[in-house]
């Protein structure tokens, strides 16, 4: 998503909605657990649309029964990276799927400046486009404030 009228990055599920509360996150996580998904926590401060793989925070959590375990992992991650993007992902290990089935952002930095379109003139009249985040100018870990 290049432009963003609400000033919020929209990736994954629920991202056009107001932020989920912890109780709502727990409900979503429990839904996934009841279907046998394994949850994992990932974080990044480079939420470029092409940045598919974020950093893992700990191992994916297999064999959980209750959402409290996932939320404990999420709280640890929030403590370590308060102004990073954090998302929860549910991995469905059943045969024929074996992929991420749910993914939503659960933590955002206080301000999200968004992305700019950069135009590059090529030979003749051709024009190449790329997208870069305004925050991406600064080095890693300093992009969205401390």
């Amino acid at each position: 998503m290049m432009t963003n009228p609400a000033g919020r990055i929209t990736q994954g599920q629920f991202s056009f909605l107001p932020d989920l509360t912890d109780a709502e996150i727990a409900r979503q996580v429990q839904y996934g657990l009841e279907r046998g998904y394994a949850w994992s926590v990932e974080y990044t401060d480079d939420p470029h649309p092409r940045n598919t793989y974020w950093e893992m925070f700990g191992m994916p959590m297999f064999d959980l029964r209750d959402a409290a375990g996932v939320l404990a992992g999420l709280k640890e991650c929030r403590k370590a990276f308060p102004s990073h993007y954090i998302r929860l992902m549910a991995f469905d290990a059943s045969r024929g799927v074996e992929t991420i089935t749910m993914s939503f952002i659960v933590n955002r930095p206080p301000s999200e400046p968004g992305f700019a379109v950069v135009r590059e003139e090529g030979p003749g009249r051709s024009m190449r486009y790329t997208v870069r985040g305004y925050a991406a100018d600064r080095p890693e870990a300093e992009r969205y404030g401390a």
Binding site: A6, F14, L17, P18, L20, T21, A23, E24, R27, Q28, Y31, G58, M59, M61, D63, L64, R65, D66, A67, A68, G69, V70, A72, G73
Partner: protein, 320 residues
């Protein structure tokens, strides 16, 4: 930020009201109401029926169940009280039913709504303590996450602390365990189990652990009569039975076995019965041409039990 939305997220909770139990049905007013809804009575009765002996344990379980029921009623009158700490310690000799009771407790707590899922995660030192620096904390945390919403049963918990090795990683696991026991009481119940004397030393060297455990339950040894009842139940569960003389023989067996070292209560009974089944099988196997009826296949005879080593030792002793 954005304003409160005019739409509802499917599965979302209304943020203001903590509307969990009292929402739909009319509030429970009597103990009977709560019991009827939670069906905890049936679990307690099952416990009475299925488990022989263990009177002090059963009494304590009934007390805990009563407290949780009354707490439910109090909550409906807005009498908030802190969730009681239900971490427990089971001490007792081998084979006195510690693991079995832990499974039942998880069921009871689940029906009373104290734990959300009611599963039991059974672990020992190996599952909690790592092998190198930095290995223990993630390992312990992973186990704790798996146990959330249920019961964490730490068997032979005294192995966690090894005083003879000051660089042992067990202490780290204990600290993480303590922290979670204190801060996430709503999320899981921890049950430590082990032999009496070793657990006493364990608690002496970890006073913090002892004070965070509200219930210290001691599992008494079974006497001969209780062991015979246990044997009857084990046999019934696998569709066997004693004939009259075999029952007497097994009583005699128990009397002798109790005097010997390394007696592991119900576990020894199970092993003795397994051996008796082997002997019955070879007895029947030897009679090639006999037509075996249902009764023959089900019945353990006195000879199956009297062939035991326990009787042999005894006769040796008397001849000497």
């Amino acid at each position: 930020m954005m304003n409160a939305p005019l739409y509802a997220i499917p599965g979302a909770i209304a943020s203001a009201a903590p509307a969990s139990p009292s929402a739909a049905p009319p509030p429970a007013r009597t103990v009977a109401d709560v019991l009827a809804r939670s069906q905890v009575e049936s679990v307690l009765d099952e416990l009475d029926r299925d488990l022989v002996g263990l009177a002090p344990v059963k009494t304590r379980l009934r007390d805990i169940a009563a407290l949780l029921v009354i707490d439910t009623l109090r909550a409906q009158h807005g009498l908030a009280s802190q969730a009681p700490s239900l971490h427990m310690c089971f001490t007792g000799n081998p084979g006195t039913g510690k693991t079995t009771v832990a499974l039942r407790i998880a069921q009871i707590l689940h029906r009373l709504g104290y734990v959300r899922q009611g599963h039991v995660v059974s672990v020992t030192r190996d599952d909690l303590v790592g092998q190198y620096i930095g290995h223990t904390a993630p390992k312990t945390k992973e186990v704790l996450k798996r146990a959330m919403g249920g019961v964490l049963f730490v068997d032979e918990a005294y192995y966690l602390y090894r005083p003879e090795n000051e660089r042992d990683y067990g202490q780290e696991a204990i600290e993480i365990l303590l922290q979670v026991m204190e801060n996430q009481r709503d999320d899981l119940v921890v049950i430590l189990a082990g032999y009496r004397d070793r657990m006493d030393t364990f608690f002496q060297s970890n006073p913090g652990m002892s004070s965070r455990i509200a219930h210290h339950l001691d599992f008494p040894d079974y006497d001969a009569g209780e062991l015979l009842q246990i044997a009857d139940r084990m046999l019934a569960a696998s569709h066997y039975r004693f004939d009259e003389r075999a029952r007497e023989a097994f009583q005699a067996y128990l009397r002798r076995r109790l005097l010997q070292p390394n007696f592991a209560n119900a576990r020894s009974v199970r092993n003795a019965l397994d051996r008796a089944r082997l002997r019955q099988a070879s007895r029947l196997y030897a009679e090639r041409d006999r037509a075996l009826g249902r009764d023959d296949l089900c019945t353990l005879a006195a000879s199956d039990i009297l062939a035991s080593r326990v009787f042999a030792i005894d006769t040796q002793d008397t001849t000497e």
